[in-house]
Symmetry: C3
Subunit: 207 residues, 3 copies
């Protein structure tokens, strides 16, 4: 799986960027599913495929870490960063899987807003990660991290509204199902913020 010695400076950045690009694809698929509102089967399969690919990238990155003596970023930061990035799509996948498991036939309208916030955050994450290649440009990276946190705050408001709407329903079983689905999406948004915090702390300790 891992061949030869990584070019010290770029190997890990490549993993980060491949990971970020596929996270964006996943969020786009989610936006599409939520916009169409009905059948979740196709989207849930595509998202599961992405999730597997992302697992592989994460695994390759961690393996590379074990075999590299000198890393461009602190060893532990690389590990935490790729793991937290991986948690984003893991949570999205878990949310979509629950929809299938709970035989949800109608996607609630708030899911579209959530999907769009996730996509916007994922796009900023990609920019911030690309910025890491030129860590001296710390203002650019910090700006992207602030944007991610702002999307997380926007996400918070969407979740609060979604829950407020949900608890107006009288079908308790429906409330149980959707409360869990929303919580898993919320975790995905929270993980975007974690990623921003890790990137920012890398920038601070490197400057």
């Amino acid at each position: 799986m891992f061949r030869g010695i990584l070019p010290k400076e770029y190997g890990f950045y490549d993993y980060f960027e491949k990971h970020a690009a596929m996270t964006i694809l996943t969020c786009k698929e989610l936006v599409k599913m939520a916009s169409e509102g009905g059948n979740t089967t196709v989207a849930s399969r595509t998202i599961k495929d992405y999730e597997h690919e992302l697992d592989k990238i994460t695994h390759q990155c961690v393996e590379a870490l074990h075999k590299t003596f000198i890393t461009p970023i602190e060893r532990n930061d690389i590990h935490t960063l790729i793991k937290r990035m991986d948690d984003i799509v893991d949570s999205i996948d878990a949310a979509v899987l629950r929809m299938a498991l709970y035989e949800i036939t109608e996607v609630r309208s708030d899911v579209k807003d959530i999907a769009e916030v996730l996509l916007k955050a994922a796009i900023e994450i990609e920019k911030a990660l690309k910025g890491l290649r030129n860590i001296k440009n710390s203002d650019y990276i910090k700006e992207k991290c602030i944007a991610i946190r702002e999307f997380e705050s926007e996400g918070d408001l969407i979740f609060r509204q979604a829950l407020s709407n949900l608890f107006k329903e009288t079908d308790a079983i429906l409330v149980i199902k959707w409360k869990e689905i929303y919580e898993r999406f919320e975790k995905a948004v929270d993980r975007c913020e974690d990623v921003a915090n890790i990137i920012e702390s890398i920038v601070i300790t490197s400057s």
Copy 2:
């Protein structure tokens, strides 16, 4: 935000103590709200303000950590300690926010017991943290940590009783709402125990 070089010995202790003092204030506000039993709006705003202030203290402490070469306690312990301390009021705030979001008009009577346990634990945390300035007096600090863990156990019994009472209700939506609120309070109590464990481990490794 952070100016000059921290006096090595005391800077971090100041952050811990400011944080602990404001955590106590938050718990007192919660006790007051629970005792009055009705309107949660005022208390929830005050608690949110405290939560913001505590975030700032935490942020300043972490920034200071990045800029300090020699720390009186192991770097990683300072980071974990202030983060766990911060989680206490974050969880209290989340619980109170849910009360507002779920349009709770009557605070269940168990909340008063929970609030009192949280206040008692927060007072012991402040004492344990003040003890850290004189780490040789490890028996005193350990004693406080044991007291915190005892309050956590007391909290456990209160939560079990609260849940047992709750599941006697027949309104499933009400059960869903309060189960979550209790779980968030429980997390706050658990974080007090985490703080005790971190303090104790600092004392053990320093002696």
Copy 3:
């Protein structure tokens, strides 16, 4: 509690193996309870006793860690490993406690499948840990870690089926109770996978 200097090479392995053996006993008790299907009182007391004993072993292991200068495995790995191992029975205990708290009189049939998967994973964990004494035999240890992860995947399918069955019920309060119980069992299975990952990473970094 901790007397003298640990024989460098074996002390920690002894703690791991004592812990693993008692985890197996706990899982056996759970299988027995689930097979009998009715009264949970006796099993829940026995499991609580095991949980206390396991806490003691964990505590002794962490204390030993603080007092040992040279460890056969990286200090942090020992700490994380024993903690994650401890989480397995903590979660089982929490699940069983909820059964008692929620006055469950009939154990759902899926619990037997879950208990058996947990037992199988615990047996592989014991083998993998015994393998650590001879870390050069990394293929043997990795094989056991793969087996644990396969049991985790098997567990996933069981939980999905269990939830699918549960949501066919119309009693929302029953759904709330069992959803939580299943989630706590699921956490126990997840922790087995965490243990496998930690063991594997110890093997990789040591080779």
